[in-house]
C-alpha cells in the first residue's frame, strides 16, 4: 500500500489549497487509487471530504457535479444524464463506486475510462481553484495537463445534459474494462465522439474521420493495429446506431 505519513482533513478551501501547495501533499478524494498504490515515496494526504464539494446542481442549462460526488451518487441521481449514470456504473464494480469520486476520476485521467469519454462528449468543463482563484477549462484540456493538480483543486465538473448517447466497446469479457470504447453523443449542434484505449487519455475525435491522427498504444490486451481497427469499427457502429441504420 501507499506510504502515507500524514493525514489532514481541511474544512475550508483555503486551508486545502494551502496544504496541497506543500511538497508531497496530495489531495485525497475517494482513495480507491491513492490508498491502493504501492509507491514507496512518502505521501502527505489532504482529505477533501470536509469540503462542500458534494452537490449536484443545475446551473445555466448545465449540470454542475461537485468533485467529491461519488460514482454511486451519480448513478442514483436522476438529474444526471442517463449516459453519465450508465458510464459511472460501468466504471467500477459495486464495492468501489461508493468511494470513487468524479473529481478523482478526472484527476486520474485513465486512458480506459468510459466515464471520462462520456464527460468529453457531454462538453464537460472542469472548475478549478488555484492560488489565483477559480478558472474553468474544457475537460479535454485538463486531461492533457494533469500537472495542474499539483497545486490546484477540482471544485466541480459541469456537463451539458441534452442529446442522446450511444456506446460501443470491445473487451475480453462483457464487463471488462474495454480495450477500446467509443461514446458518441448527438445533440442540437451535431455529434461528439470520444474514444478510450487509443491514447494516454480518452480523446475527442472528429466523428467524420475518427481515427485520423490516432496512434494507439500496444499492450497485452490489444496491439496498436488492433486498437485502430476497433476504433474504426466501433465508431462506425455508434454512428449507424445513432442514425437508426442498424
Amino acid at each position: 500500500m501507499a506510504k502515507i505519513i500524514s493525514y489532514q482533513r481541511p474544512e475550508s478551501l483555503e486551508d486545502a489549497l494551502n496544504l496541497i501547495s506543500q511538497e508531497k501533499h496530495i489531495p485525497l478524494a475517494g482513495g480507491t487509487l491513492l490508498n491502493a498504490g504501492d509507491d514507496v515515496e512518502p505521501l502527505h494526504l489532504v482529505d477533501l471530504q470536509g469540503l462542500d464539494l458534494k452537490r449536484i446542481e443545475e446551473a445555466e442549462g448545465r449540470l454542475q457535479i461537485g468533485s467529491m460526488v461519488t460514482l454511486d451518487e451519480i448513478i442514483k441521481n436522476t438529474n444526471c444524464p442517463e449516459s453519465i449514470r450508465i458510464s459511472a456504473r460501468s466504471e467500477l464494480p459495486s464495492t468501489l463506486r461508493a468511494l470513487a469520486t468524479i473529481g478523482g476520476t478526472v484527476a486520474s485521467a485513465d486512458s480506459d475510462s468510459q466515464l471520462l469519454a462520456c464527460l468529453l462528449v457531454h462538453d464537460a468543463e472542469v472548475v478549478i481553484l488555484g492560488p489565483n482563484g477559480e478558472s474553468t477549462s474544457p475537460i479535454s484540456d485538463v486531461l492533457g495537463n494533469l500537472e495542474i493538480f499539483n497545486s490546484q483543486l477540482i471544485l466541480s465538473i459541469s456537463v451539458a445534459t441534452d442529446g442522446k448517447c450511444v456506446f460501443e466497446s470491445t473487451g475480453r469479457t462483457p464487463a471488462d474494462t474495454p480495450i477500446v470504447s467509443v461514446t458518441t453523443r448527438k445533440c442540437a449542434d451535431g455529434y461528439r465522439m470520444a474514444i478510450t484505449g487509443v491514447a494516454t487519455t480518452p480523446v475527442l475525435v472528429d466523428h467524420e474521420n475518427p481515427t485520423l491522427s490516432l496512434k494507439p498504444p500496444s499492450d497485452f490486451r490489444g496491439s496498436s493495429k488492433y486498437r485502430m481497427q476497433l476504433a474504426e469499427v466501433l465508431s462506425s457502429r455508434t454512428l449507424n446506431s445513432m442514425d437508426g441504420e442498424n
Binding site: 490508498n35 491502493a36 504501492d38 494526504l45 482529505d47 467500477l92 459495486s94 470491445t170 475480453r172 469479457t173
Partner: protein, 973 residues
C-alpha cells in the same frame, strides 16, 4: 491518531496509525468477518457498509472513516438465530469457503432495504464488486432472491433439486426431439436424474445444509487470519526482481538495525536442506531442487530473504533495506526454447540430483506406450496431426496464502496454515527446520479457496524459520501480487496429437507428444504432465497409444497444482482434435466420439502405465475397467437443454438483425479420475457421546468444497442419525487421523469410504450394546434409524440410552471406531459439456451465452454442494478459456499481477449456467459416489473452441480466446 466511528451502531474511539486501513482497524476490533483479498479492494472480501453503502474497507484509510458509520456482518449476530439473509445463504448452499460471504450478505442487506423486489440484474450488479472463485455466483443470486422473499413475508419454495425423468436407458443413445425442452427452473437448482440402481437413503443424497454454515454466515472466526495470538510478528519476503541471477552478496545490516525488526533470514543463515515443495505422497517425486533460501534466483518473485518485524510495514521497509548484489544471468521462458543449446542452464548446482538432462533443462522424460503406434498409424485409413498451445494462469483463491507459526509451551512448532495438505506439510517441513515430525503440528482452519495452489508446502517454512529464529509467533500473508507471481500457477504446455482412424471412424492409434513447462522448480512438474498424458489418452478406446513427454525448466513463475491437474490442458487438445477429425470424416462430432468413447466394461488401458512414481513399461495381466458410465444420459439431457439442433440452423447462427454476430454451439466429452489408486489414503475416527451424538475426526481437508458436510452425511447414514448429530473436526495433525489431503478428486471417494468403515465399526458395536439392553441374541438383526436401535419385534432403545449405559452404567467402554481406506480403483466420472456463444466477427469479441454441464459423478452425496462444485469449476474453466492469463514482459516480470488486468469473471457478466447430475451406481464408492470436483474444469475450453468453429468455421488452437487472437484467426481464415 484517534478516530471515532459508529461501529455497528455504537460509537467507538479507536487509536490507529495514519497509514492504517479501515480493514486493519476493524480486524483489530474483532470484526473477523471483514477479510483481506487485495490491497486495491477489487475482491470485495473486505466490504462493509460505509455510511450505508457497500465499500471495500481495504481502500479506506481508518482516518477517512473518522466520523462515519460502519456496519459489519457482526451487527446481525446479536442472537443465536440467523437473520433471514444469513438463513437464505445457508439454505441455498450459497457459500463454499465462505471467505467473502460477509460482504455478500451486507450487500444483500443494503440492496433489499432499498429495493425489496430486486431484479436478477440488480442483484448481480450489487455482487459485481465481490469476486468469487467458488460458486460462479449462481447460488448467491438464488440466496438473495430467497432472502428477498423471506423479508417480504413470503414463504419461499424449499431449495431442493429438480428431479428429472431419465431420457435414456442409461446405455443407448436417443434421438432428442427438437421441440422438447427441460422443465423450467432456477439456474441454481441442480437437475437430478435418478437411477433405479441406487438404493434409497435418508441422509445421503439429501441437500443438507453445510455443517459449517452457521460459522460462515455469521462471519465467526474461521480462517487463519481470524485467530489472534499474543505478541505476533509479521513477516515479509524479499523477492527477486530478476528472472535468473546469482546472488553475489547480501548485506542485511541495515535491515537488522531497523527498530522493530526481530530477524532477517536468507541463504547465509538458514541451513541448506534440499526438498521439493509439491504436496504429494512420500517419497516426494524427484528432483528435490529447492531450498528455503538459495544463492541463486530462478524467476521474478523467487525468494531472496525474509524479515520478521513488529508490523507489516516495518517488515517491508526492512526488506527494502537489504542490499543484494546480483549477477544477472540469461533467462528462458518458452518450453520449446529451453532445451536449445544456447539456453541458460537453470539448475547448475551440484546438489540437485535426478534431473534427466540438466544441460538441456530437461527435468523429466516420460514415456508410456500400448501396442504398436507406428504400425497402426501407417496402416490407418486416415491420420491427423494437430498442435495446441495452452497458457499460464493462476488459481487465484480470494484468501491468499497465509501461515502463522509459533513454538508452543512445550516448544513444539505449531503452524496454523491455509493448506490443502496438512500431513504432507508436516512431513516436509520437519527436516527443513531441523525438527522431528513428532515436534511439528499443522492445524488447518477453514481455507478461503485453494484449487491446488495450496497443495504445496509453500510459505510454511518461512514462517517456521522466523518463529524459531525469534522464538515468537510469526505470520506471513502473501499480497495479491505475490499470490500471482510467487505462489503457484497452471503449467503451460505444447501438445501435439497424432491420431489414426480406420474406414469406419474407429480410432486405431493415438499419440500425445507433450512439452511441459514446469518453470524453475519441479514441484508438480512430473505428475501434472503424467496426468495430462493419462487424461489425454484415456477417453477413447484404442489399442495403440503413446505418451511421449519432455518436462522443461524455464524461468517463468512456478507452475504447480491447479484443479484439473493436467487434464484441462490435455482435454482442450483432445476434444478439439476429435471435433476436427469428425468433421473431416463427415460424421456428427458426438456420434464420432460415441463410437470411440469408453463404455462400461472397457479397459482403461494406459492408466496403470502412468503412475505418480514412474511409468510401467511391461504389459499387465489385468487392466482397470469402467464399471459405471452415465455419459449417454448426460448427452441426452445436455443436448435437450442447449437445443443442440440449432447448430445447423443458419437463420439462428446468422441473425439478420445483427449482421456482425455469428452464433455457435460447442460440445466436449469429459472423463476424469477419482483419486489416485493405491496411493491416496484417508482416515477417520468416530466416538459416541453421552447424548447419542458423535464426534468424527477426519484428516480430510475441506477447502470450502463441502467435504466436512458430505463426510458427515455418510457417517449419519450409517449410524441412523441426522447430520446434526455428527460433529466433524478435520485436519489437525496432532488430533485427527492421517489423510493425504484435498486433491485428485479423492475426498468423497477415499475419505468417504474411510468414514463409512469407521461408522460401520461403531454401528456394529452399537448393535451389540443394543442387543444387550434389548436382550436379543442376534445383534445383526438390529437396525439403526431415527437415533434409535430397533429390534425386529419393534422394540427399540435410543442411542442416548446406549451411550449412557456404555459410558456410565454397565461394562463401561468408549464406543468408537476407526477406519482408513486406500483404493485399487479410480472410477472415472463422465460429463457432457455444452456451451452457446456469440462471436462478433468484426472485433473478435466472444460472449458466452450459456454453459451446461451434465455430469455423472455416481451418487451425489449432497446434490447442492455437488452442483456448487460444478458451477464453480465451470467459472474457473471459463476464465481459463476466455480471459485469464499471466503475461510476462521480456524480462520475465508479470505485467498484470492484479485483478482487473488479470481478468476473472464477475457476477454481472456470467453466462447462464446449468448443472445436471446424472446418477449412476459406482459400487466401489461410498453409497455409489464418484468424484465431481475437477471434471468441470475439463470441457469448457474445448467446447468454446468447437462453438467458435461451429459459428465461423475457424479453428483456434491456442488459449485464451482473447478478442485480438480471435480477430486475427478470423482474418487469417
Amino acid at each position: 491518531m484517534r478516530i471515532t466511528i459508529e461501529l455497528n451502531g455504537q460509537k467507538r474511539e479507536i487509536d490507529c496509525e495514519v497509514h492504517e486501513t479501515l480493514l486493519t482497524v476493524l480486524r483489530r476490533e474483532g470484526m473477523s468477518s471483514v477479510r483481506f483479498g487485495s490491497s486495491s479492494g477489487e475482491t470485495g472480501a473486505s466490504a462493509v457498509l460505509f455510511d450505508g453503502r457497500l465499500a471495500s474497507s481495504e481502500v479506506i484509510l481508518a482516518a477517512q472513516a473518522d466520523g462515519h458509520s460502519v456496519i459489519t456482518l457482526e451487527s446481525l449476530n446479536t442472537e443465536a438465530s440467523l437473520h433471514p439473509v444469513q438463513a437464505a445463504f445457508a439454505a441455498t448452499g450459497a457459500m463454499q469457503s465462505g471467505y467473502s460471504v460477509g460482504a455478500m450478505i451486507l450487500g444483500a442487506l443494503q440492496l433489499l432495504e432499498e429495493n425489496p423486489t430486486p431484479t436478477e440484474t440488480e442483484i448481480r450488479d450489487m455482487l459485481s464488486g465481490i469476486l468469487d472463485r467458488e460458486t460462479a455466483y449462481v447460488k448467491p443470486v438464488a440466496a438473495i432472491k430467497q432472502a428477498a422473499a423471506l423479508l417480504r413475508g413470503e414463504e419461499p419454495e424449499p431449495f431442493r433439486p429438480l428431479i428429472l425423468k431419465p431420457m435414456t436407458d442409461g446405455v443407448n443413445a436417443v434421438e432428442v426431439d427438437p421441440n422438447d425442452s427441460p422443465p423450467d427452473a432456477s439456474d441454481a437448482v441442480p437437475r437430478l436424474v435418478p437411477s433405479s440402481e441406487v438404493p434409497s437413503t435418508s441422509v445421503v443424497g439429501q441437500p443438507e445444509i453445510k455443517v459449517d454454515a452457521v460459522r460462515l454466515v455469521k462471519g465467526n472466526p474461521a480462517f487463519t487470519a481470524d485467530f489472534d495470538i499474543r505478541g505476533l510478528l509479521h513477516a515479509k519476503v524479499l523477492l527477486s526482481p530478476h528472472a535468473h541471477a546469482r546472488i553475489i552478496s547480501i548485506d542485511d545490516s541495515e535491515a537488522n538495525a531497523l527498530p522493530g525488526v526481530h530477524a532477517v533470514i536468507h541463504h547465509e543463515n538458514i541451513n541448506r536442506v534440499k526438498y521439493a515443495s509439491g504436496g504429494q505422497s512420500y517419497p516426494n517425486p524427484k528432483p528435490h531442487d529447492q531450498v528455503s533460501f538459495d544463492n541463486k534466483v530462478r524467476h521474478v518473485g523467487d525468494r531472496v530473504a525474509a524479515v520478521a518485524a513488529e508490523t507489516p510495514e516495518i517488515a517491508q521497509e526492512a526488506c527494502n533495506l537489504i542490499k543484494v548484489e546480483y549477477e544477472i544471468l540469461p533467462a528462458v521462458f518458452d518450453e520449446l526454447e529451453a532445451g536449445k543449446p544456447d539456453a541458460p542452464v537453470i539448475h547448475d548446482e551440484v546438489d540437485t540430483e535426478d534431473i534427466a538432462d540438466r544441460d538441456r533443462n530437461l527435468v523429466h522424460q516420460i514415456f508410456a506406450q500400448r501396442g504398436d503406434v507406428d504400425s497402426a498409424l501407417e496402416s490407418a485409413a486416415r491420420t491427423y496431426e494437430q498442435t495446441f498451445r495452452v497458457h499460464q494462469v493462476q488459481p487465484a483463491p480470494i484468501e491468499p496464502h497465509i501461515s502463522t507459526a509459533w513454538l508452543d509451551s512445550d516448544e513444539r512448532l505449531v503452524v496454523r496454515t491455509a493448506t490443502q495438505v496438512p500431513f504432507h506439510t508436516r512431513r516436509m517441513l520437519a527436516p527443513l527446520v531441523g525438527m522431528d515430525i513428532k515436534d511439528v503440528r499443522i492445524i488447518k482452519p477453514r481455507i478461503g479457496g485453494g484449487f491446488g495452489a495450496k497443495q504445496e508446502m509453500l510459505i510454511e517454512d518461512i514462517a517456521a524459520h522466523l518463529a524459531i529464529a525469534t522464538r515468537k509467533p510469526v505470520q506471513l500473508e502473501l499480497t495479491r501480487a505475490e499470490e500471482f507471481f510467487a505462489s503457484r500457477t497452471r503449467h503451460p504446455q505444447t501438445l501435439t496429437y497424432r491420431t489414426g482412424v480406420d474406414s469406419e471412424g474407429n480410432l486405431v492409434a493415438q499419440e500425445l507428444k507433450l512439452v511441459g513447462n514446469t518453470g524453475p522448480y519441479g514441484t508438480h512438474g512430473y505428475t501434472v504432465q503424467t496426468v495430462a498424458g493419462l487424461r489425454g489418452l484415456s477417453s477413447y478406446n484404442c489399442d495403440n497409444k503413446r505418451f511421449d513427454c519432455d518436462v522443461m525448466y524455464t524461468n517463468i513463475p512456478v507452475p504447480g497444482a491447479y484443479r484439473g491437474y493436467g487434464a484441462p490442458q490435455a482435454l482442450f487438445g483432445l476434444e478439439a482434435h476429435m471435433e476436427d477429425i469428425a468433421l473431416d470424416l463427415g460424421i456428427d462430432p458426438i456420434e464420432f466420439r460415441r463410437r470411440n468413447w469408453v463404455k462400461v466394461g472397457d479397459e482403461l488401458n494406459i492408466a496403470p502405465h502412468l503412475g505418480e512414481h514412474g511409468t510401467v513399461e511391461e504389459e499387465l495381466d489385468e487392466y482397470p475397467k469402467v464399471m459405471s458410465n452415465g455419459i449417454e444420459e448426460c448427452v441426452a439431457q445436455g443436448t435437450r437443454a442447449i437445443a443442440w439442433h440449432r447448430r445447423h440452423d443458419e437463420s439462428w447462427k446468422n441473425p439478420v438483425d445483427r449482421p456482425h454476430i455469428r452464433r455457435g454451439l460447442g460440445f466436449a466429452f469429459c472423463m476424469h479420475g477419482t483419486s489416485i489408486p493405491f496411493l491416496d489414503m484417508g482416515g477417520c475416527s468416530i466416538k459416541l457421546n453421552d447424548d447419542g451424538s458423535f464426534n468424527m475426526l477426519v484428516g480430510a481437508t475441506d477447502l470450502g468444497t463441502g467435504a466436512d458436510t458430505v463426510l458427515g452425511q455418510i457417517a449419519a447414514e450409517v449410524l441412523g442419525v441426522p447430520l446434526e448429530d455428527i460433529r466433524v473436526y478435520s485436519s489437525d495433525t496432532d488430533v485427527t487421523p492421517f489423510d493425504t489431503g484435498a486433491y485428485a478428486s479423492s475426498t468423497t471417494y477415499i475419505s468417504g469410504t474411510a468414514v463409512k468403515k469407521a461408522a460401520d465399526v461403531v454401528r456394529q458395536r452399537l448393535k451389540e450394546r443394543a442387543a444387550m439392553l434389548l436382550d436379543i441374541e442376534i445383534p445383526c438383526s438390529i437396525e439403526l434409524r431415527d437415533k434409535r436401535a430397533w429390534a425386529p419385534d419393534g422394540r427399540s432403545v435410543s442411542l442416548e440410552e446406549i451411550a449412557l449405559d456404555s459410558l456410565h452404567l454397565n461394562e463401561q467402554e468408549q464406543i468408537m471406531g476407526t477406519g482408513s481406506h486406500v483404493s485399487p480403483d479410480c472410477p472415472p466420472p463422465f460429463a457432457a459439456q455444452f456451451v452457446e456463444i456469440e462471436i462478433d466477427i468484426e472485433t473478435g469479441q466472444i460472449e458466452i451465452i450459456k454453459m451446461i454441464m451434465a455430469v455423472d459423478c455416481g451418487v451425489a452425496i449432497n446434490p447442492v454442494t455437488a452442483s456448487g462444485q460444478v458451477e464453480g469449476g465451470m467459472l474457473q474453466a471459463l476464465g481459463y478459456a476466455h480471459c485469464e492469463e499471466i503475461v510476462l514482459d521480456e524480462k520475465g516480470k508479470m505485467v498484470n499481477p492484479s485483478f482487473g488486468p488479470y481478468r476473472i469473471y464477475r457476477a454481472d457478466e456470467m453466462p447462464e449456467t446449468e448443472v445436471f447430475l446424472v446418477q449412476t451406481m459406482e459400487d466401489s464408492g461410498p453409497f455409489g459416489a464418484k468424484a465431481v470436483a475437477e471434471i468441470p474444469k475439463d470441457g469448457v475450453a474445448p467446447a468454446i473452441r468447437n462453438a467458435i468453429l461451429n459459428a465461423t468455421g475457424v479453428r483456434i488452437n491456442e488459449l485464451p480466446f482473447t478478442p485480438e487472437r480471435v480477430h486475427q484467426a478470423l482474418q487469417r481464415d
